[in-house]
Symmetry: C2
C-alpha cells in the first residue's frame, strides 16, 4: 500500500490567499490530502480557504471529506483558557 | 415513528452566550437536535457556541454529529459576493 501524501496547513493571521495558495501548491506537488487546522478567530478563515480551494482553484478536483471541531486548552498553567479548533480535510478525487 | 424535534439557531452578531443559552433552552424543551448555522465572520462564534454547549453546559448529554461547510452567494444581483457557511448539528444522546 502506498503512503497517502498528506499536507497540513496551520491557518493563522496571514491573508486567506496565502493559505489557499499553500494548499494548491501542495496538491500540485502530489499531495492526495491537505488538512487545514485553525483555532479561535482563525476558524472562519480556514473555512474560507477550504471553500476557495474547492470551488475556485481546483473545482471538481478536490472534495471536503471531513470537518471536525473541538476544544483545546492554551496558555500557561493557572492562566489557561479554552479555544475552539477546526480541522478540514480536502482530498483529491480519484 | 415520532418526528424528531429539531431547533435551528442562526448565529450572528450577538454575544456567544446568547446562542449557547438558546440551544440549552431548546434541548430542555424537548428538542432532540439543535443546528447552529452561521456565515462569514460568525463561523468561529458558531463553533465556540457548539463547543461550549457540548463540553460545559450539557457534558455527556449531547454529541456533535455533523459539521458541514459550504458557500453561499449574498447581495444584490450584480453586487453578489460569496460567503462561507457552516452547519453544526448537536444531538441528544439516547
Amino acid at each position: 500500500m502506498a503512503a497517502i501524501e498528506t499536507g497540513t496547513i496551520l491557518v493563522g493571521q496571514k491573508p486567506v490567499m496565502n493559505y489557499v495558495l499553500a494548499a494548491v501548491i501542495q496538491f500540485n506537488q502530489g499531495a492526495q490530502r491537505v488538512i487545514f487546522k485553525a483555532r479561535g478567530r482563525s476558524i472562519s478563515k480556514a473555512v474560507d480557504a477550504a471553500e476557495i480551494v474547492r470551488s475556485r482553484f481546483l473545482p471538481g478536483q478536490v472534495d471536503i471529506t471531513s470537518v471536525k471541531i473541538g476544544s483545546e486548552k492554551v496558555g500557561e498553567p493557572g492562566k489557561e483558557r479554552v479555544v475552539s479548533t477546526i480541522e478540514i480535510v480536502l482530498e483529491k478525487k480519484e
